[in-house]
């Protein structure tokens, strides 16, 4: 019996090809996108990564965020920040390295924004209580009283070189609120943990506070939609193309209440004591670090277009998108080629 070589060779080649193709399929399948959801930091957190161990890795990230929340929340009496506030005007308290770092960074961002972002805003936030459903417009005397307690310069933090991390709020009634920065820090920490586990790309979305790290699998930058502040959530007015950046938006369009026909939103100007009213309806900051993007988006929203844009222009590696209440969209120079306005109701200046 003679087997001709030609057909046998073809058959072998074809079978090998099939095997390799299937092997390729299996590998792709294993790296299917994975999406994990948790409610933390008073918001919806989504992790979107591709890795064969994605469920375990996501759990590690959520555990880390839970740790941060436990230390910094105002919704519990025994968080480090709650204890710091309870001891205001009495004594310095010892805090973890995490809290020490975030407070130090918060003060640095306050200096950069000349107080437009201020972690000691607590008394005013409590007074206005926007989003609680019980909100009312406080009287001017109450506002002035709360305003007198707001001053980031008064917060005493010992230097990082010391063995113990201690912090002191010198005046009775002072309240630190890290609501404008803790999510950004959590995004940075989430990214760090993902990198430690060998994940090279993915998206962590902390309630609209986006950490887009690495780039898309096809090598292109991530496409991050920017909320249209005048439309329901999920409607975007443009897309920013980024790799390895935090994208954080602040605006008064989601959390607000209306009284006597006037709208009062949740971003309080630490210099006036009233909701910021400088012509902007939203600001998006794009930066390497979430902690900076988070604090800056609040600060720049308070500063308004002219001063805010000047500030961002002066910073290296930080860009921003400004949306005014006249539906005009401004971007800093670095975003000219990576921002695309898609909604015709707005004009790009």
């Amino acid at each position: 019996m003679v087997i001709e070589r030609k057909p046998a060779a073809w058959l072998t080649a074809l079978i090998l090809l099939a095997i390799f193709t299937c092997a390729g399929c299996a590998k792709v399948d294993e790296q299917a996108p994975y999406i994990a959801h948790e409610f933390m930091l008073d918001t919806d957190i989504i992790i979107n990564i591709e890795d064969s161990r994605a469920p375990q890795i996501s759990t590690a990230v959520f555990q880390r965020i839970a740790q941060i929340e436990k230390k910094m929340t105002l919704f519990s009496q025994d968080s480090e920040i709650a204890v710091l506030n309870a001891q205001a005007g009495q004594k310095a308290v010892e805090v973890s390295a995490d809290t020490h770092y975030v407070l130090t960074k918060a003060i640095a961002m306050s200096k950069i924004t000349r107080g437009a972002f201020d972690p000691t805003i607590g008394p005013l936030v409590k007074l206005w209580d926007v989003g609680s459903g019980l909100a009312r417009v406080p009287g001017d005397a109450e506002i002035q009283k709360a305003l007198a307690l707001v001053d980031y310069r008064s917060l005493q933090i010992n230097p990082d070189s010391d063995q113990l991390h201690t912090v002191f709020l010198p005046r009775l009634g002072q309240v630190v609120d890290l609501g404008g920065i803790a999510k950004g820090y959590s995004g940075d920490e989430a990214k760090r943990i993902l990198l430690e586990h060998g994940v090279r790309q993915g998206i962590i979305n902390l309630g609209g506070n986006v950490m887009a790290f690495g780039h898309k699998k096809d090598g292109n930058p991530w496409r991050v939609g920017i909320q249209n502040p005048l439309a329901p959530r999920g409607t975007y007015l443009g897309i920013v193309y980024v790799s390895d950046k935090a994208v954080v938006t602040s605006g008064g369009y989601e959390r607000y209440f209306i009284k006597n026909g006037r709208r009062y939103h949740h971003i309080i100007d630490p210099t006036t004591g009233y909701p910021a009213n400088n012509g902007l309806i939203s600001v998006t900051v794009v930066a390497d670090r979430g902690i900076e993007a988070d604090a800056l988006s609040t600060g720049v929203y308070v500063l308004g277009l002219t001063e805010g844009k000047q500030l961002i222009d002066s910073m290296d590696g930080v860009e921003a998108i400004f949306i005014t209440n006249e539906r005009k969209v401004y971007t800093t120079a670095g975003l000219k080629d990576c921002f695309q306005l898609t909604d015709g109701d707005f004009s790009y200046e």
Partner: protein, 129 residues
């Protein structure tokens, strides 16, 4: 040519023909990702319906003033079947079945737009708000 070689040729032929069929089936599956008819009322999404052959239904888009547009979905197509607007332009648009096609009723602020796989792919990877 002996029997073994015939057998090998037969297997070869089956594999080659089989692979062509496989590719065809795969392509058909991709096409099977049916386009979506999106009905908008007052600039907001009222309803999304997949345009697969098996879906036959009528959707009445009615507002508080009693104005209405009756949208019909049948055989993978969509149209505005009836409306109380004065000029009936939305009805005149006829059956829609390709991505990008639309029927608009300006007086009642209703539109029907077909989105395809291409539009879906244009969705951003994340959303900052």
């Amino acid at each position: 040519m002996n029997r073994v070689n015939k057998l090998i040729y037969a297997i070869l032929a089956i594999l080659i023909i089989g692979s062509f069929i496989g590719v065809a089936v795969y392509e058909q599956m991709l096409k099977g990702q049916a386009p979506v008819a999106v009905i908008y009322k007052d600039k907001q999404i009222f309803q999304r319906v997949y345009l697969t052959k098996s879906i036959n239904k009528q959707i009445n888009v009615r507002d508080s003033d009693g104005h209405y547009n009756l949208v019909e979905i049948k055989d993978g197509q969509v149209r505005v079947k009836e409306a109380d607007c004065p000029n009936k332009l939305c009805i005149k648009a006829g059956w829609l079945n390709k991505p990008g096609q639309m029927a608009v009723c300006i007086p009642n602020r209703v539109s029907v737009v077909i989105e395809g796989a291409a539009e879906e792919a244009q969705q951003p990877d994340a959303h900052s708000f």
